[in-house]
């Protein structure tokens, strides 16, 4: 649980740098000893309350970068710190969501939402009301007692989002969270995500390979290129918030899409 004082302090300090990576690198070595440079010399900062998207083709290291920030991988070089302290393992104030919903089939939607509470060895009863509120927030109030196999792909991903929100991390790491959903569901989910992000003012990093999506959601877009994975350009998106689907038709939106394409295509 976020301490209310630190949350207030975070709100007051909005815009301060929360996450810093310097000369960040990751090299994988396979059994035969050959090396694959997944990420090379990445420098970046993410400010508190900012929503950053990472876009690039397969193999550009965007998921690797997210896993490093999440503490799931050890970096091969450079430094990486969140709120001033080094990231060397998963931390409760950093939460992750993946392309697959990753729900346990033996748990109901509610029990899946409560998983972070079980892991922290806290009393479920104290958090059940909040879990139900969060399920309502993601539009699943009448499905709390359903098992995952009774829910559609989009609904399962909503449960995963409710679980992430119950964990209540300061930094949300979203690894192509809606990549497996059809386009209409994905648009809905993106708008819902923006709503939730706007009301909680959490810092967020979202990985996608969809350029429109990357620009539509972001304050800043990190454009990445493969072999080796590098951060080649950072584009600030100055579209007003709240974002609407109609903005995607605006000339400046199209210009940004073209710019990202050009960066990725020219490399």
């Amino acid at each position: 649980m976020a301490d209310p004082r630190s949350a207030a302090a975070a709100a007051a300090d909005e815009g301060a740098v929360a996450l810093v990576g310097r000369e960040l690198g990751k090299t994988f070595t396979d059994r035969s000893g050959s090396e694959l440079v997944a990420l090379s010399a990445v420098d970046f900062e993410v400010r508190r309350g900012e929503l950053v998207t990472l876009v690039g083709p397969s193999g550009c290291g965007k998921s690797t970068l997210l896993n490093l920030v999440g503490g799931l991988l050890d970096r091969s070089g450079g430094t990486l710190a969140f709120e001033g302290s080094e990231i060397d393992r998963p931390r409760p104030e950093i939460g992750m969501m993946f392309q697959a919903p990753v729900l346990f089939p033996w748990r109901t939607a509610l029990d899946n939402t409560l998983l972070p509470i079980d892991i922290r060895r806290q009393k479920r009863a104290l958090h059940k009301a909040r879990a139900l509120d969060l399920l309502e927030l993601v539009g699943l109030s009448s499905f709390a007692d359903n098992y995952p196999n009774e829910l559609s792909g989009g609904m399962q991903q909503r449960v995963a989002l409710a679980r992430l929100l119950l964990q209540d991390p300061e930094l949300l790491l979203l690894d192509e969270p809606f990549g497996a959903l059809d386009e209409f569901t994905r648009e809905d989910m993106n708008l819902m995500l923006l709503d939730i992000w706007a009301s909680t003012r959490k810092t967020a990093m979202l990985v996608t390979h969809n350029i429109q999506e990357a620009i539509f959601l972001a304050d800043r877009v990190f454009v990445m290129s493969p072999r080796p994975g590098r951060l080649v350009e950072i584009i600030s998106v100055d579209l007003p918030r709240p974002r609407t689907i109609a903005m995607m038709r605006a000339p400046e939106f199209q210009d940004m899409v073209f710019e990202v394409r050009k960066i990725l295509g020219a490399l």
Binding site: G70, M96, L115, I119, Y147, Q167
Partner: protein, 256 residues
Amino acid sequence: MIRRRAPLVITAALFVGTYLLWHQLTASGTVHEVVLPTPGSVGESITEVVQRDTFAEHLRVTATEVLTGFALGSISAILLALVCERSRSVRRLITPYVVALQALPKVVLLPLLYVWFGVGYRATTVMVVLVVFFPVYLNTLTGLSIADPDGTRLLRSLGATPRQRFRYHQVPSALPLIFTGLKTAVYFAVAAALAAELLGARYGLGFLIANAGNFLRIPDLYATVLIAGVFSGLVYLTFEVLDRKLIYWRPRDDRR
């Protein structure tokens, strides 16, 4: 509903048809009653066998052998699988023996078991332990290795300890396969107990069958075989029901 009902009608029709054919063949004298007694005389024989004073004791002996052997065999199999899942060296040490035990048809061990444990419930129980062990061991070992990596990644990101990952992810992921192993094992257990009793015992449903055969009491033979079939079916059904209750998340198409 309709799709569920149709096979039931066919099953019932087949049953009635078989009964009528049986009745016709025996009543007309086409098949001699020594080979196939009439349904009526088998029915009377079933009532008679079940009402004998000693029947409850025979049933109790077989049930005890099956349950004791099943419990010992499956618990030791699960424990050993847990150890082997943790320790690669123990697994390497044990695997050749487990494979050798499995490759051997256990029934051939019966004479040896009679020598070691005497003719009776002890030898039968050991026989049951032997046949139960392998399906439970193998299914548990496989089950413990199938927890999906995404779930592990999620739990790690939540800061779960290895023990929590075991409890919240690895074990529940393994349960459907463990239960599949238990269902296979209990079916083997009944078969092994009956076989052991057939070949050497003074009590049990298998002994009743052997006894009827030895005295050429053909209706009794049919009756005791049917009783053993019902016993076996009830045991299996119990586990099937348990499976549906406990492994409620098992995917539908796996279900039989």
